[in-house]
């Protein structure tokens, strides 16, 4: 069994940037791909800011920061992933987009390279089917914010080999994360519950039951949750929530998973959440969680 030393992360958005922090922090050479150089620059800046905060809080030795950053490299060229032992995809929740990406990676990466998807809703078996290597494909769903949350939902597809799953599980543990095995079903465990829950919260706003801030206060106070659904939705982003809804509702036809009209109107208005300074709540800055 070959050792995994270099990990590629596709997508420098909120999830991809967080996963890359986890990988680099654990000592892996970490390559980050995004089509947009500005996204890569932003992710690198956020990574440094997050690590600096970790040093200030005494969670990271100061001399570790430059060491970790030296492991982190960004690229807009997928060819730079040729030496990756594991590639974790964290791009749009779109099956054609994922198939296109993995089709290209299959030609670039070595046969031994394991492909993983951070999808939270799309079938691992379906993505694997367009990857060119369905036996070396696995689901690795990190939680938001990945750099702070330990859980990873590990899902084998129907075609995933036991060896691939076992290697990916070992890497997950080496990353310092806590893997749990889940079935390849829509939303796995977390999003099966979370997407409809968040939609229900948006519908309370649509129906005039309560203002967003009151909903968050109520849920946090009554249930002891660290974040209210409105804060979480703004962190996820309305654009991502819409894609999650479409992916899950498209498979399950579950009414609670259908995208609420307010989400579409907010996207049209550019109110995407924390990253644009306004979502269901308003924000003074768009700093990464924990930074």
């Amino acid at each position: 069994m070959s050792e995994i030393k270099t990990i590629g992360v596709c997508g420098a958005g909120t999830m991809g940037a967080g996963i890359a922090i986890v990988c680099a922090r654990a000592g892996f050479r970490t390559r980050v791909f995004d089509l947009n150089q500005a996204a890569l620059d932003r992710a690198r800046g956020q990574t440094e800011a997050f690590l600096r905060k970790s040093v200030e809080r005494g969670k990271l030795a100061a001399d570790k920061l430059p060491e970790i950053m030296s492991q982190w490299s960004g690229s807009t060229d997928l060819a730079d992933f040729a030496d990756c032992d594991l590639v974790i995809e964290a791009v749009f929740e779109s099956l054609p987009v994922k198939h296109d990406l993995f089709g290209k990676l299959d030609k670039i990466c070595a046969p031994r390279t394991i492909f993983a998807s951070n999808t939270s809703t799309i079938s691992i078996t379906e993505i694997a089917g367009g990857s060119g290597r369905p036996d070396r494909f696995v689901g690795m769903h990190f939680c938001l914010p990945a750099q702070l949350m330990k859980l990873v939902e590990m899902s084998p597809g129907l075609t995933t080999s036991e060896e691939t799953f076992s290697r990916a599980w070992s890497v997950c543990e080496a990353l310092g994360q806590k893997p749990v095995r889940t079935q390849d079903t829509p939303g796995f465990v977390l999003n099966y519950f979370l997407i409809p829950f968040n939609n229900d919260a948006i519908r309370l706003v649509e129906q005039g039951v309560a203002e967003p801030a009151d909903i968050d206060l109520a849920i946090k106070t009554a249930m002891g949750y660290a974040m209210g659904p409105m804060e979480l939705l703004d962190l996820v982003g309305m654009d991502t929530q819409k894609l999650l809804c479409e992916a899950m509702h498209g498979v399950t036809n579950e009414p609670r998973a259908a995208c609420p009209p307010l989400v579409k109107r907010m996207i049209a208005a550019g109110w995407l959440g924390k990253k644009t300074g306004r979502g269901l709540l308003r924000y003074a800055d768009s700093k990464m969680f924990g930074a």
């Binding site: 309370l204 039951v209 009151d214 106070t221 949750y225």
Partner: protein, 218 residues
């Protein structure tokens, strides 16, 4: 804002204040506002006569809407009367959350006065409109039902489902453990009431809740 003094009218067992609490202890014998608590709070309000001069009048609610006690009128309903319930899940102790219910034309002054009174007693207030389930029950009952259904469908063991939701979302307690602690039969009663009021399938009591309710009726 200066907190308005209030008098408590107790009418039966209160679900919000089953034990001594600062909100009850801070009440005055001759307060400017009036708070009706207990299962018969609505009846006590109806028998109280004219209360239009009070800064606020608060009626403790169960599952019912405030309009049951104050009436409704083409969307113009509202006065100095608010509804409230301190949230508690089944057999669990009441939480610090007070859901404060307003009707479309409820005065902002009455909301502010009621909020100040509850907050002065250390409670947290979320304002909501007069709908069945208010905020928390509307959101968590479908989630709890879904967890019970997925347990039946063997998505994961009860332990793994709880662990995943706690680790992944930072929840202090998973849904199955929460229902065991607070009562599956109690969940059945609340969610059935919401199902009847809202007609949405997500509120229909899950099989395990129905079984628990049937067993308690033996």
């Amino acid at each position: 804002m200066t907190t308005s003094t209030y008098t408590i009218v107790k009418a039966g067992e209160s679900r919000s204040f089953p034990a001594s609490h600062a909100f009850v202890e801070q009440a005055a014998a001759q307060g400017a506002s009036r708070v009706f608590i207990g299962q018969e709070a609505g009846s006590a309000f109806a028998a109280a006569g004219e209360l239009g001069a009070c800064p606020f009048v608060a009626i403790e609610l169960g599952q019912e809407c405030l309009g049951v006690h104050t009436a409704e009128a083409r969307g113009h309903e509202g006065s100095n009367v608010v509804g409230f319930a301190r949230f508690r899940l089944g057999r669990a102790d009441p939480t610090a959350l007070v859901e404060l219910v307003r009707q479309p034309q409820t005065s902002d002054a009455a909301i502010a006065a009621a909020r100040a009174a509850f907050e002065a007693a250390g409670l947290k207030v979320a304002v909501c409109a007069d709908f069945p389930g208010r905020i928390v029950d509307r959101l968590i009952r479908p989630y709890l039902n879904a967890a019970l259904r997925r347990l039946d469908e063997q998505l994961a063991s009860a332990e793994d489902m709880d662990k995943t939701l706690c680790l992944g979302l930072g929840y202090p307690e998973g849904p199955i453990s929460l229902l065991e602690r607070t009562g599956l039969a109690e969940h059945h009663d609340v969610t059935l009431a919401l199902y009847q009021a809202l007609g949405q399938e997500a509120y229909a009591p899950a099989r395990r809740a129905q079984v628990a309710k049937a067993r308690t009726g033996r």
